[in-house]
């Protein structure tokens, strides 16, 4: 059973998984806290614990701590297995783990102190951002060198997504973080006004592509065949989808800026390419579904498959909803309302996290050479996570539609029917509902972590796990 016969560097994988769990719990907990702050403003404890300072910590801990942390673990795990080659430098990877945790900790502390560039998902002030660049460079070198020195000639589709994510994140991060330092803790963006907005959302939306789409797809393409025991339906469809995905995504950033002073043609291109993105996104969905041909019974028997297929289903819904929001008319209605957090959290809590859960459930037993501590707890985790996420998202969609309808309502003489506050007070019940959904998701995370920790620390050496 010892997969280290091949000498893969797996200790550092364990480290990244452990720490991504920590940051994942922090992120969801903070999410619950700030959702309560919106509903009960007296829960804000300024200056350090106010919504305005905590929300960026929630998003950074989620995307970078939980998301990137896990992806680092699984890029290292998957790359070694797909190339049949030991990681190029395990020492560098250990350094990377330290640096990663230092950065996320620094990010949390500096953001709480109010040191922020204010640009969404690129809030970290320049010294911390510089450390992120160092982190990404050593990570990329390690993965790329492992691939270059590989013993398996063919590169499986997962490696394609991994390589694209490495180069994509590098380009995005460097451009959007360009700034003018004033002091160690303060800098201004290198771009002004409309330019800055356009650069920011080119970055912001493609962070979704390169962090929240390509890496989970890499994991999905690796894990689904491993879990079901049957190959992916169409490698060719995966290849076509890959190139069209990484081509089209970069055109769509301005759909975050519809109806703003960004040039109209940029907005129109963003809208058109967003619609076109449905095709490559759904190619991945179909690849997942068709791979299940004759295997659907595994949805009952194999919890990994359940996570993966629900995950890809939420991805499918996400990539229909996203493009529809990118249309001017619909955007005019729901943009700036709670509809959008509802959308985002279907992607992060539904798609990305479900795939990461599957990846952790898949690798931990292999890395530790034992069965998962409790399958019933896995199922409980699954259903609580899905329920919590659906309560969250559906509540927010209804809230968004209601507020949008009220904000746009006019009297016969053309004046507005509702003041802003009249629309805001209607949001409170939905905000309680969102906090409730988030709390359920948080409980599911705790059950998940408990199960994983129990598996990691089990003292009795169990029988070797079955070869999948």
């Amino acid at each position: 059973m010892n997969n280290n016969k091949e000498g893969y560097a797996d200790e550092v994988v364990k480290g990244f998984i452990t720490w991504s769990l920590v940051w994942g719990v922090v992120s969801v907990l903070l999410g619950v806290v700030i959702s309560l702050q919106l509903a009960y403003p007296q829960l804000n404890l300024p200056p350090y614990l106010s919504y305005g300072r905590l929300r960026p910590i929630h998003t950074n801990a989620g995307i970078f701590g939980w998301g990137i942390g896990s992806f680092m673990a699984f890029f290292i795990y998957i790359t070694q297995r797909l190339t049949k080659t030991r990681l190029w430098s395990p020492g560098l990877a250990r350094f990377q783990l330290w640096l990663f945790n230092i950065i996320i900790t620094l990010a949390a502390v500096t953001l709480m102190l109010g040191m922020t560039r204010s640009k969404e998902y690129a809030e970290l002030e320049w010294p911390v951002a510089l450390l992120v660049v160092v982190l990404w460079v050593i990570f990329s070198i390690n993965i790329i060198m492992t691939i270059v020195k590989r013993k398996e000639e063919q590169m499986y589709i997962s490696l394609w997504y991994i390589l694209a994510a490495l180069v994509g994140v590098a380009v995005l991060y460097l451009v959007n973080n360009a700034g003018i330092p004033i002091s160690l803790t303060k800098s201004y963006s290198a771009y002004a006004g409309v330019n800055d907005a356009n650069v920011q959302w080119w970055y912001g939306h493609n962070a979704v592509a390169m962090v929240l789409t390509a890496p989970p797809l890499a994991l999905f393409y690796y894990l689904l065949p491993k879990s079901t025991g049957v190959p992916i339906y169409s490698h060719r469809m995966g290849v076509i989808a890959f190139w069209s995905l990484i081509f089209m995504y970069l055109w769509t950033g301005a759909h975050h800026l519809l109806w703003t002073p960004v040039p109209d043609w940029v907005q129109t291109l963003a809208m058109a390419f967003s619609i076109m993105l449905i095709a490559p996104s759904w190619a991945a969905v179909f690849n997942g579904y068709f791979s299940m041909n004759g295997q659907w019974h595994q949805m009952r028997e194999n919890y990994l498959v359940k996570f993966l297929i629900f995950g890809i289903t939420f991805y499918g819904l996400q990539t229909i909803q996203g493009p529809s929001q990118a249309v001017r008319t619909f955007s005019a209605f729901i943009h700036y309302t709670d509809w959008v957090p509802g959308h985002v959290h279907m992607g992060t809590l539904g798609w990305v996290s479900l795939v990461i859960f599957a990846a952790i459930y898949y690798t931990i037993p292999k890395l530790y050479g034992r069965e998962i501590h409790s399958v019933p707890l896995v199922n409980l985790h699954f259903w609580l996570a899905v329920t919590g996420q659906l309560i969250f998202s559906i509540t927010m969609w209804i809230a968004g539609i209601q507020q949008a309808t009220m904000l746009h309502a006019t009297n016969p003489d053309g004046s507005l029917h509702y003041s802003f506050m009249e629309t805001l007070v209607e949001m409170y019940p939905y905000w309680y509902g969102r906090a409730f959904g988030g709390a359920i998701y948080f409980v599911s995370m705790l059950i998940f972590v408990y199960n994983i920790v129990k598996t990691m620390t089990a003292t009795t050496s169990q029988a070797a796990i079955k070869k999948a």
Binding site: Y40, P41, P46, P47, S50, Y51, G52, R55, M115, T116, R117, I144, I147, V148, M155, L159, W160, L163, A164, V167, V171, I180, I182, S183, K186, Y188, Y191, G193, V194, N195, D196, A197, W202, W243, I246, F247, Y249, L250, T252, G253, H256, L257, W259, T260, P263, W265, L269, A332, Y336, H408, T410, N411, D413, G414, S415, L416, S419, M421, L424, V425
Partner: protein, 287 residues
């Protein structure tokens, strides 16, 4: 072929990523910076306004407030004239935001008097009872001005020594209010919007006492925070014994008085409700 050549693959993937990047992110610099889009009235921030803006950034106000008015009826009526590219040329970074948990602030400048902002920042619920905004009373601490000059130089904003000397003794709240009052007020849109009051100004509810309770309800919700629940005045003037013709009261409420910090309520209340408030105000007149 590509499946066996990682370096070529990486280069190709980079090129593919850069195509959309060049067209939609790099090329627009030329369009956005078109000299025709420049607006002469738009001025850089003063040292005090810039410090206020940095506090706005520090507190993450952009997590709940946007700063772009879209050319949509609901946006323009609620917030004011839609935003123009030329209004943001001094914004490094932009602060457009992505979620309106609170209202848009692109045109907040000049909407309320300073006194309203001071009270509202310290205790938002005292001005807007069911608001979910956190209290920012701690901003009454002294403003740190050690970096101000360096900031002004880095951004190439003009200033004279007396601008910097003016910062002495200012609080962070002073800076914040100065910034808020500058927002969106460089172009004279309020004056242009005011001209919208047209038609015969005759109160349709003259002598109709049945609308007075409704007028009072509107007053309590929209006006009382500044003019007092008892009409005796607070941030705004006393209305306890207002002795003006209906048409003049209507004009003031409908179009606002920009230089006195009286907001215009025409677009948010509509004519009917403004006349009802007018009737209520007249009903409490003592002589």
């Amino acid at each position: 072929m590509l499946e066996k050549k990682p370096v070529i693959f990486l280069l190709l993937a980079t090129v593919v990523i850069l195509i959309g990047t060049v067209v939609t992110m790099i090329a627009p610099f030329k369009w956005i910076n078109d000299p025709k889009l420049k607006i002469a009235e738009v001025k850089p921030y003063t040292p005090l306004q810039l410090e206020g803006r940095d506090i706005y950034i520090r507190e993450g106000c952009n997590n709940c407030h946007t700063q772009t008015v879209r050319p949509l009826l609901a946006d323009v009526e609620r917030y004011g004239e839609y935003s123009k590219a030329g209004e943001f040329v001094y914004d490094q970074p932009h602060l457009w935001g992505s979620r309106r948990t609170g209202p848009d602030l692109a045109r907040i400048g000049g909407k309320y008097p300073d006194a309203w902002h001071y009270k509202h920042m310290v205790d938002p619920q005292s001005m807007v009872p069911r608001s979910n905004m956190p209290k920012y009373a701690f901003l009454q601490q002294p403003l740190d001005t050690s970096l101000t000059e360096r900031k002004m130089k880095a951004l190439n904003f003009p200033y004279i020594p007396s601008d910097l000397a003016m910062l002495k003794g200012k609080s962070e709240l002073d800076a914040m209010v100065a910034y808020l009052q500058k927002l969106g007020s460089d172009i004279p849109w309020r004056k242009a919007a005011q001209a919208a009051v047209v038609g015969e100004l005759k109160n349709p509810y003259l002598d109709n006492k049945t609308v007075i309770p409704e007028g009072k309800a509107i007053y309590d919700k929209e006006c009382a925070t500044c003019h007092g629940a008892d009409l005796k005045g607070d941030v705004g003037r006393s209305l306890a014994d207002i002795d003006k013709p209906d048409s003049q009261i209507f004009k003031t409420v409908y179009g606002g008085v920009a230089d006195k910090g009286m907001p215009a309520f025409g677009d948010t209340l509509g004519k009917e409700r403004v006349w009802k408030v007018t009737s209520f105000l007249k009903s409490v007149q003592k002589h």
